[in-house]
Amino acid sequence: MTLMTRELRASYAFVERNFNLTKRYWGWEVAFLVYAVAGALAVSLIGKDQGSDRLLLTLVIGAVFWNYLSVVFSFIAETVAWERWEGTLEYTFMAPVRRYTQMVGSTLFAVAYGLVHTVVVLAVLALFFELDLSRANFATGAVFMVLGSFSFIGIGIMTAILPLMYVERGAQMTFVLQSVLLLISGVYYSVDILPGWMQVLSHFSPATYVLEGVRAGLIDGTGIGDLFGDVWPLLIMGTVFIPLGVWLFGRAERYAKRTGKLKRVG
């Protein structure tokens, strides 16, 4: 068997396993989806209430794209926490699988899951509101979604090391980081209204550039060529964060093996 075949099978193991888990936890999946749809609707209804189509679109885009990015982020970031909770972490780490193979599998499923989740949210919002997308440049939206995915995958991998290093607190830190990204990225408002120090932080969040780019594309019809200021930070983040994340994951694994943190707790 070639190395490539072996690694592909191993990658697919994570896709299939996560699919099976999603299927088995279908009740929770429905609950999460209802919560996501309700949250997106509740926020978007503020725009309707204000009678502003632009505000409505701004909020809908924020709700839909944040839903996608946060689902991808949390699925990858919780890779380790999930296995620690199930007690399978040692078995996965004992298997002859390279970390990037594991990450590819986890990421593929996370993106597919995020897309399905987001399409459902988007469909419900589209049924609820008459969205004016007459000027929308969908290509711009798609490019930013792809670029944003790479950045969030990288951050997700870097965050996944926290539960490796800190048995319980790591999962808590992941949750806090996700909350901070929501706050500073201008998901439902412009980052210009944030305090100065928060605006500085917002430059380090890929979601800031994704949402600015998507809004410019879908609301104003701006082409990708005119949004280079939002594209290049995402290109850099995507290029740097993923390899950096895999490298850091390897270092964290080494630390966990040195200190005995892979062991099941609870």
Binding site: R9, A10, R17, E86, T88, Y91, M94, A95, R258, G260
Partner: protein, 303 residues
């Protein structure tokens, strides 16, 4: 699997304890020459635990040489370092000192090669409990690069031998008893045809019937499968029944190592005690079995 069930079965009717004379002869020889299945030289592992950052030596200067085909028992109280030693060989911990080789592969320099030839069954059957045995085993098989279809056929074969029918393979594992889950864990380990199988208290907490099933299966493996087995256990009868040699480990150190018969003879000749493994265990560890069951696990390493 390499002919796991095609080989002649032994005639063992499961019994908890068999006197030396009744212990069945092994069908496969131990290869004392050549590259050992497991070689540990002066292995040491420390953990820093508690707020005072006090280092605890979990494994202290341990050396072992286990030839291919042997069932090697490790006896010791909770916290004596048995599980840490197994985790070190499993590549789940890094060494602080010493070196370990599995079939000649250094576990630090050739980690991936080692991972391909080992597998481990621990005291807790760690699975995705919502998933079925079939889903869990397919996941494990794919991680090792195996074909899922072949893995399923092998799993059915192994689990049938352990008394679990095919129709149970689709139900969530959480609906199975602890004993059945442990049998699935054994099947998972065997699916990948490991040549070094690490069994870390595989029968602890099992009901008597399941314990006998697992012990009988280990005997069958010994005789039909090209595997070297390292077995940690609290059960002295189990150790006597299954192991070719036994090491007694205490406070991270190997305090004595020999065949079960030699250990019993030694304690009888030197101390005038009853020639039992329990006498040997108490003599070399200074602990009774009651102490053994009551101690906390020193391996635990909280944040």
């Amino acid at each position: 699997m390499t002919g796991l069930l095609e080989q002649p079965k032994t005639d063992s009717a499961p019994q908890l304890s068999l006197p030396m004379a009744q212990r069945q002869a092994r069908l496969r020889p131990i290869e004392t020459d050549g590259v050992p299945a497991l070689l540990a030289e002066r292995v040491t592992k420390r953990f820093v635990v508690g707020r005072k950052r006090k280092p605890v030596v979990a494994v202290n200067d341990v050396s072992l040489r286990i030839p291919r085909g042997e069932i090697y028992g490790i006896l010791g109280a909770n916290g004596s370092g048995k599980s840490t030693l197994i985790r070190l060989v499993s590549t789940l911990l890094t060494l602080d000192a010493g070196r370990v080789e599995v079939f000649g592969h250094d576990i630090e320099r050739e980690e991936m090669a080692v991972k391909r030839v080992i597998n481990r069954v621990s005291v807790d059957a760690a699975f995705f409990k919502k998933l079925s045995p079939h889903e869990n085993l397919t996941y494990a098989a794919r991680l090792y690069g195996m074909d899922a279809g072949q893995a399923k056929r092998d799993a059915i074969e192994i689990l049938a031998r352990l008394g679990i029918g095919e129709k149970r393979l689709s139900r969530p594992l959480e609906q199975m008893s602890r004993g059945m889950q442990q049998k699935v864990a054994i099947a998972r380990a065997l699916l990948t045809s490991p040549t070094l199988l690490l069994l870390d208290e595989p029968t602890t907490g099992l009901d008597p019937r399941s314990k006998l099933d697992v012990q009988a299966f280990i005997e069958e493996l010994r005789d039909t499968h090209d595997a070297t087995i390292v077995l940690t256990t609290h059960d002295l009868d189990e150790a006597e029944r299954l192991c070719d040699r036994i090491a007694v480990i205490n406070d991270g150190r190997v305090v004595v190592e020999d065949t079960p018969d030699a250990l019993k003879a030694k304690v009888a000749a030197e101390r005038g005690l009853a020639p039992t493994l329990e006498s040997a265990f108490m003599t070399y560890t200074g602990k009774s079995l009651d102490d053994d069951l009551g101690d906390d696990d020193k391996d635990d390493d909280d944040e």
